[in-house]
Symmetry: C2
Subunit: 185 residues, 2 copies
Amino acid sequence: MTAERAYHHGDLRRAVLTAALDVIAAEGPAALSLRDLARRAGVSHAAPAHHFGDRAGLLTAVAAEGHALLSDALGESEDLRDLGVRYVRFAREHPAHFQVMFRPELLRMDDSGLLAARERTGDLLRRAVADHGDDPALGFMAAWSMAHGFATLLLSHNLDGLLEGREPEEVFRALAQEMPRLAGD
Amino acid sequence: MTAERAYHHGDLRRAVLTAALDVIAAEGPAALSLRDLARRAGVSHAAPAHHFGDRAGLLTAVAAEGHALLSDALGESEDLRDLGVRYVRFAREHPAHFQVMFRPELLRMDDSGLLAARERTGDLLRRAVADHGDDPALGFMAAWSMAHGFATLLLSHNLDGLLEGREPEEVFRALAQEMPRLAGD
DNA sequence: CTAGTATCTTGTCAATGCCTAGATTGCGCT
DNA sequence: AGCGCAATCTAGGCATTGACAAGATACTAG
C-alpha cells in the first residue's frame, strides 16, 4: 500500500514476511517456499534471500516478531488465569507466529534478535508467576503447559469436536477454573 | 536383522519406518526425505513410495503407529495424574511418533488406519476423565492440555532451563499437584 | 554529480517428490 | 513341476525448490 510499484519494491521485507504469515497460517511452516513468496511479492526468486539469508532466517524473523507481539499481548497482568487467556488469544490472533516460535529445529537459535525478543517474554512470564506457589519454576511450568497445550491443540484442530461452538478463550477460562477440582480428586 | 540381504529386502516397510523415526526424532518431520530413507535402507529412490504412496502416507503410517503405541502406554488407569505421567513418558520414549501424531497438515486425515487408531486412544482418554468434574469435555480438555503442553514444550527443549536435572515425569507429577494451589489464588 | 551501497535480477546446480515404464522375485493354482 | 500373476523393487525423467554467484539497477551520502 505504501508504494505499489516503487521499484526496489518499497518494502519487500515486510511484504515477504506478511505473505509468509499467510502461508504458514493456512498450510503450516512446511508448506513455505521462498520462491512462492517471491512470486507473490512480484519479485525475482532470489530477492527474499537478500533480506533473510535463507529459509531458517525468514522463520527466525517470524519467531522474533512473534515474541515481540506476545510480550505486548500479555501485558502486565498479575492474574494467572487472565495471562493464560491472553496467551490463548495471542495464539488465535497470530497463529502463524505461534506455530513457529517454539520450534528450535526451524530457527536460527543463535540469532541475536530472536534471543532478545525471547528474553523479554521469558522475563515477563517468570515475573508473573514468581509469587505463586512454593516453587516458582514449578508454577511457571504448570501455567505455561496448560496455556501452551490448549493453544497448540486448538490450532492443530484437535479440540474442534469438543468446543461445541464456545469461544476458546472462555472455555480456557472455565477449564482453568475446573482444574483444582480435577487435581483434587 | 530378520533378513539382511533378502532381495526385496525382507521388510522394507519396517526399515523405512524405523529410519524415518530416527530422522524425525533427530531433526523433525521437516527434515525427512524419502530418497534419503531409501538410501539408508539400501534400495532405489522410488522403493519407499510403493509402501506408503508418498510423504504424507509415510507420516500417516507413523502417526497411526503412534496412536497404537499411545493406547498401550496409557493402559487403563483411573488416576488422572498417572495418566498424565504416562502421556509424558510416551512422548519422551517415542518422540518421533509424538511429533507427528497431532499435526493434521502433515497427515492424510482420511486414512482409515489412522482414524481407527485415533478413535481408540480418544475413547480411552474420554473414558478416563468421564467421571471427573461436572463437564466431562472440560475435564478432558484440561487434563489433555496440561499433559500435551508439558510434553510439547519438553520435546521442543523449551523446558531445558527449568528442569534442573530432575526427571520430567516426576516434575510433571509435582506440577499436577501444584496446580490447584495456582488456580486457587 | 560521483562513488558506494543496498536492493534486486538472472543464471546455474544439486536435491527432492512424484510419475511412468519396466525388471525381478515370490506365490498360488492347476 | 511349471505357469501365470501380483507384489516388490529399479531406472529414468520432469517440475520445483533452496542456495549460491555474478551482474544490473536504484538510492544516498558527500
